[in-house]
């Protein structure tokens, strides 16, 4: 069976319903069993501006937005002018002929002007629906799924409205059938419907699966979707969801809840994380297990709130004064986010330290399909040495109730692993103070009367020791592609999908053998394994979505390894496969060792 792989672009201004139109299409495709991947380029503005949604679908997995579009739905002149010239050969442009004028289209691009007044009548809001009908027709998809969606959407407004809108969808469909040449391929129909979700939903659902009972947030793009999911599902899942006064309050509240025994989580973006960083140190010091997600966006400062970047790695590495254990992980896809959150909760519960997740706008607001069977809501739960008053923790309330002034329990016991059994407040016989001042094994401050350099050293080493074992518990990155290759592409986090496709394209289009290493665990870092792979690579090129090469420098700090080349992008937009392909080619040709691909689409 030939591979079908196509992309639809929908452009216009904020407020024209682009996201929901894209969503309808994504659902229709996913229900057919197609894999989809969508990315919405928009602005920090409620109405106006220019929004461009790319929706790619295939019968094969698609993990990035691809290189171009087969269908364009420009909703205003601006969108037409920006995107028409970039359309692929043999593509179709569906637009309102009463409103928009096409410019010069590239060769082979077919214009599909629709007389929207005629099709939609007085209902000006329905042009999107008519266009969707036409698009389905061009793709050889039957109109019923669209009609069903439209019917559901307008159900509340009564039968007449439903009939009107369904009629419009159908008329759009038929008009296209009568007037336009269908595309050269048809969107296939596969057996198994796919689920569609954003990265933020994946984070939230991962949290729910992990047993999060406390979620706090202060709204901040592009992390707000997590709060929204949590708020919407709070009552049904028994999760306490709080919108707090600021991010400082968020992190401190989450620490309070975690200290109390809940699995507790929060998500924010770089600026909010900066405000949380002092409290991250507190979690390190009092050994409270918390999970915090930083959904990166283009910085510095407020930056470009609706644009993507991988610019916070060093911020997370350096978060909080002093040295203390923290785990940092950069999942590579929406599904990976879903699975990583429960895994991280197990680690932070076992190692009693903060766990930080690096997501970014591309992953978190990007939509993709996953096989519903992969959404496992019953992950393994390990809570480590936890003493809950109802005996629910795996540590169990083994310490007998030793009277009020019990002193046998040492919250910060200096054990060989560095891990000390953790009782939560409320457990009889385990009273202690959790202090951010340096403290002794029993919690007594050693910052005032009882300072003691030997004890201070002991406690620093106790906490530090915990990190030794984490490394063996998480998987080292695996090389993807042939073991011997001309180029090894190294990425981290959200770039996995696009790098993989670039590797394939290099082979098929350029005859260049490449392989790929995607690093997920930042702290702890598999320095040895990664160092070994890279040392035996012919040419290592690091791909990352930032200006200064944050990962390249971190990789060197942990391994001493200096990459041969770099591909970076810091214009707010994600990589497209051809950006990487072309950059690799120019580097192999010896033209540069630092490529900064130009984003051709003006969004």
């Amino acid at each position: 069976m030939a591979k079908v792989d196509f992309a639809v672009g929908i452009g216009g201004e904020n407020g024209q319903g682009i996201a929901s139109t894209g969503d309808i299409l994504a659902r229709i495709f996913a229900r057919r069993g197609l894999n989809v991947n969508a990315y919405n380029a928009y602005q920090s503005i409620i109405r106006g501006g220019h929004t461009f949604l790319s929706l790619r679908a295939s019968d094969q997995p698609v993990a990035n937005l691809g290189d171009g579009h087969d269908l364009l739905i420009p909703l205003n002149q601006d969108a037409m002018d920006r995107h028409l010239r970039l359309m692929r050969a043999d593509s179709r442009v569906v637009y309102d002929a009463d409103k928009l004028k096409p410019g010069q289209a590239a060769a082979g691009v077919e214009l599909c002007p629709m007389p929207m007044k005629q099709i939609c009548g007085a209902n000006k809001l329905a042009a999107n629906t008519a266009a969707l009908g036409a698009v389905l027709r061009l793709l050889g998809v039957e109109p019923e799924p669209l009609e069903a969606v439209v019917a559901r959407q307008f159900k509340k407004k009564g039968e007449a409205v439903v009939a009107e809108n369904v009629g419009i969808a159908r008329r759009g469909y038929e008009y296209a059938g009568q007037n336009f040449r269908p595309l050269s391929f048809r969107a296939p129909k596969l057996d198994r419907a796919q689920a569609v979700l954003t990265g933020n939903q994946a984070i939230a659902m991962g949290g729910a699966a992990a047993g999060v009972k406390f979620y706090a947030a202060y709204p901040m793009s592009p992390s707000t979707g997590v709060l929204m999911w949590m708020a919407a599902h709070a009552r049904q899942l028994g999760i306490m969801v709080r919108q707090v006064e600021d991010e400082i309050g968020v992190m401190n509240m989450v620490i309070g809840a975690a200290h109390g025994g809940c699995r507790a989580m929060c998500a924010t973006s770089g600026g909010g994380f900066a405000l949380m960083s002092e409290a991250v140190g507190m979690a390190g010091m009092i050994e409270a297990p918390v999970v915090c997600v930083d959904v990166q966006r283009a910085g510095p400062a407020t930056g470009v709130p609706t644009k993507t970047e991988q610019g916070d790695l060093w911020q997370l590495l350096g978060a909080g004064q002093g040295d203390f254990p923290k785990i940092i992980v950069a999942p590579a896809s929406q599904l990976d986010l879903f699975h990583t959150i429960p895994e991280l909760f197990n680690l932070v519960d076992e190692y009693q330290c903060p766990g930080l997740v690096l997501s970014d706008l591309l992953l978190s607001e990007g939509t993709c399909s996953v096989d519903p069977a992969d959404l496992d809501f019953k992950p393994a739960i390990r809570r480590g040495d936890l003493i809950l008053s109802n005996g629910n923790g795996s540590g169990g309330a083994s310490n007998p109730y030793g009277g009020y002034n019990d002193s046998t329990y040492l919250r910060y016991k200096n054990t060989p692993s560095g891990i000390s059994p953790r009782a939560v407040p409320g457990v009889p016989g385990h009273i202690y103070v959790a202090a951010t001042d340096e403290h002794d094994e029993d919690g007594t401050l050693i910052s005032d009367e009882f300072t003691n350099p030997a004890k201070r050293r002991m406690m620093v080493e106790k906490r530090g020791r915990k990190m030794r074992n984490v490394l063996c518990q998480v998987l080292p990155p695996r090389l993807f592609g042939p073991e011997k290759a001309t180029v090894t592409l190294v990425g981290w986090g959200s770039t996995q999908g696009v790098i993989r496709e670039a590797v394939e394209k290099l082979a098929t289009e350029g005859g260049i053998t490449a392989n790929h290493l995607q690093v997920k665990w930042m702290v702890p870092f598999h320095a040895e394994e990664i160092g070994r792979v890279l040392a035996s690579s012919q040419r290592v090129i690091i791909v990352e979505n930032n200006f200064s090469g944050q990962f390249a420098r971190y990789l060197r700090s942990e391994t001493g390894f200096s990459a041969h080349g770099h591909i970076r992008k810091y214009d707010g937009e994600p990589f497209m496969p051809h950006h990487i392909v072309n950059a690799v080619k120019e580097q192999l040709a010896g033209q540069t060792s630092l490529s900064v691909p130009r984003h051709e689409v003006l969004v």
Binding site: G238, I248, N252, M253, V254, H259, F377, I381, G443
Partner: protein, 308 residues
């Protein structure tokens, strides 16, 4: 002492065989405050209040920020947290919601609570979370050796204002009232028994309770000393003050001169707490902290269904 302030011990008593006595609440470590520091008296009053309310140490969590006063959790035998400077309320709310069966008592200094912690103060007030907040207000930064605090009086000379403070101080009583606290009181370290009653009232109050305590710093505050306060403080309970009269309470709260009223300024019982309004806490599952982590199968299916 007016009886209006007397509080009956209505709270669950210890289930253990151990006898509750004042020493039960003695911490591992002897307080290292300067001799004569007002905070000794606050500690002692709190211990007495807990005893009189028959609260077992493990049912109580005392949460502080950073400062001389914030060292209190180390000196009392209850669960304790010694958080970051200014953050005790945020941590306390998180802990309270995680386990709403605990008695959460946040404590700290004026700098901690009204200075760096001001935003959490403002927003905790309005949320009416059921916890007690005790501020040891010495009108100075003690632990950092004597700089101006948000409650330092205008003109006061400190290490950071050697020519006198030019800022108008915060007045926590009217501020807390207007901010939405449902129990607003002021105590004085020199009046132990009165303080005990205020604390008992605050701890048993269903909602957010603030007790601002004039707790003199004998080392760095040479203006507002025991000697200064002693002749001035006048318990409201002796003046027939009605703590449901908002405007009167404000006026009393502003008084700071020849006469300094202490006692319960303001109290209302008609406002539900945040916990009351969060159905998640009322489905019979007990504290969130102790609930099972799994999601029931039909919920999982529903969540996936949403994505199809």
């Amino acid at each position: 002492m007016s009886t209006a302030l007397q509080v009956e011990p209505t709270i669950e008593t210890s289930k253990s065989g151990a006898q509750l006595v004042k020493d039960t609440y003695k911490g591992k470590v002897h307080p290292d405050w300067c001799p004569g520091c007002g905070d000794f008296s606050v500690l002692s009053a709190l211990q007495t209040a807990l005893l009189e309310l028959r609260l077992s140490p493990h049912q109580v969590v005392v949460i502080s920020g950073i400062g001389c006063s914030s060292n209190l959790p180390g000196f009392i035998n209850t669960y304790g947290m010694h958080t970051l400077h200014g953050r005790s309320l945020a941590v306390g709310v998180g802990l309270k919601l995680a386990n709403h069966e605990l008695k959460v008592i946040c404590v700290g200094g004026d700098g901690d609570g009204y200075g760096i912690g001001g935003n959490h103060f403002l927003h905790t007030l309005r949320r009416n979370v059921d916890l007690t907040y005790i501020v040891m207000d010495n009108q100075i930064y003690g632990l950092t050796t004597g700089q101006t605090s948000p409650t330092s009086v205008k003109g006061m000379k400190t290490k950071s204002t050697p020519h006198g403070n030019v800022e108008n101080p915060i007045n926590p009583i009217p501020l807390a009232m207007v901010g939405g606290a449902t129990y607003v009181a002021r105590g004085f370290s020199g009046k132990q028994k009165h303080l005990v009653e205020l604390f008992k009232g605050a701890i048993t109050h269903h909602g957010f309770a603030l007790v601002d305590v004039f707790s003199p710093c004998v080392t760095y505050n040479k203006d507002n000393t025991y000697q200064w306060f002693n002749p001035r403080v006048k318990p409201l309970e002796e003046q027939g003050h009605d703590p449901t009269d908002f405007h009167k309470a404000l006026d009393k709260g502003y008084q700071f001169g020849e006469e300094v009223p202490i006692g319960l300024f303001w109290k209302r019982n008609d406002l539900p707490t945040l916990e009351d309004l969060e159905p998640v806490l009322h489905d019979g599952g007990g504290p969130l902290a102790f609930r099972g982590l799994g999601i029931p199968g039909e919920q999982c299916r529903a969540l996936i269904q949403e994505l199809l």
